[in-house]
């Protein structure tokens, strides 16, 4: 027997206000989580390179731990353990922290590859000019290391976006969770879930566009004038 899917425009439109609230939560989680991941990823990469051996080893251990366990487990761990140590942030904050930490481990590897790709001679030239390590990273190394990383970093942004529905496990009402609530109230899931799928698609494509523009803008560093 063929399954018939019906689409009710009126119902779809009535779902929109609730879904837009969920969209707001999803975007917050994505942007804040990614910003955190970008910052922490760089910190891990620099600690690995420049910190005293025990700290560098601990950092590697942390990265391995994060990459070898599911994000969902990490989210539960943060959600249930943080109150135990006396911190009780909102579920969304915990979610952002979880996404940020998880993706920072992956991004630190991207940074690492990018930093390794800057020729040793650039470091030597900086040292010959007496530039200190922080200034060398800021003025010489990172501006050369980051542009080639941008496409890979963009992939992780989209990947992080697609992981945001996991936050519903720790009670964050993001877009997909909102759609499920909507569906359970009216027993019609097709419209809200489809709309959420379309929203994910649109955000992914938009993120891809931003990444490509960033790439084009930064490619001057690779040797082509702006």
């Amino acid at each position: 027997m063929p399954v018939e899917l019906s689409w009710d425009w009126g119902y779809a439109v009535s779902c929109l206000p609730a879904l837009l609230r969920g969209l707001g939560v999803t975007l917050q989680a994505m942007l804040a989580g990614y910003a955190l991941a970008l910052g922490l990823g760089l910190v891990w990469a620099l600690l690995r390179r420049a910190a005293p051996a025990p700290v560098a080893r601990a950092t590697v251990g942390f990265i391995e731990l994060v990459r070898s366990t599911p994000l969902l487990v990490q989210l539960y761990a943060l959600y249930f353990l943080l109150p135990e140590v006396g911190v009780s942030p909102s579920a969304l904050t915990v979610g952002i922290l979880g996404l940020g930490l998880h993706y920072s481990a992956y991004l630190s590897e991207v940074y690492r590859a990018g930093l390794d790709a800057v020729p040793r001679e650039q470091w030597e030239a900086a040292r010959a000019l007496s530039l200190g390590a922080p200034r060398t990273y800021r003025s010489v190394v990172l501006p050369q290391a980051v542009p080639p990383m941008i496409p890979v970093m963009g992939n992780y942004l989209v990947s992080l976006l697609k992981d945001t529905p996991l936050l519903s496990a720790i009670t964050v009402v993001e877009m997909l969770h909102r759609a499920k609530i909507q569906g359970s109230e009216s027993f019609r899931y097709v419209e809200p879930v489809t709309l959420v799928g379309v929203a994910f698609l649109v955000i992914s494509l938009a993120a891809g566009g931003v990444i490509r523009r960033a790439e084009a803008r930064w490619s001057s560093v690779e040797g082509h004038p702006r």
Binding site: A125, R127, A128, L129, L131, V140, Q144, G223
Partner: protein, 262 residues
Amino acid sequence: MTRPAGIPMIEFDGVTKRFGETVIFEGFDFRVNREEKLALIGPSGSGKTTVLRILMTLEPIQDGVVRLDGEPLLHEEKNGVLVPAGKAHLTRMRQRVGMVFQQFNLFPHMTVLRNLTEAPIHVQGMGKEEAREEAMRLLDMVGLAGRAKARPHELSGGQQQRVAIARALAMHPKVMLFDEPTSALDPELVGEVLGVIDVLRQERDLTMLLVTHEIWFAERFADRICFFDKGRIIEEGTPEELLHHPREKRTREFLRAIMDHT
């Protein structure tokens, strides 16, 4: 800070340098006088580039002391004993030395001008406008004032190397090190770089060390030439002595091989 003229600008005292098991120098002694123009020649792997890299603090040493302008370069005195130098000491000492690399090593993402102003502004705390003016003066000296806004990749190798010389000079070093500055250049671009070095030689009261395979230029440039082989100075003297009346057999062999080649 000026010191008595009697103190050499550069002193290596019993310096030992190893890369893993490979010994580059053992108990190496070496002196360069104030404002002296010195050429270092010799086969590859003889240690002449390593001398420059040690002076630029790009290489640690395993034993001995290097002094620059009478002060230990890689060590500092703590409670009367020499200990490996800390960052502050190295940063202070490094500013007395400028280095020009074989591969130029300009910062590819910066304009020519910013290549010259970055260190004066951020290391020496020079004002932006002052740094820019000084950079333009130096670019003018190397004949590239018109390319201040260009990126390094838009310049020829010879032009890049001239920018690299100006960049090193922007820190006002007392010692300039040239590590085979023309080896990576097409033959027709060698002259413009050596021309700039020649001008520096005449106009600047700089101590200059040049590692080169351009023997004809070493002859014109140097007050003294040192012939290096296997981590030792086999022979040294004025260009006339060393190039035209070499005493050592090894020196004669090397010079003959080089002359045959060119």
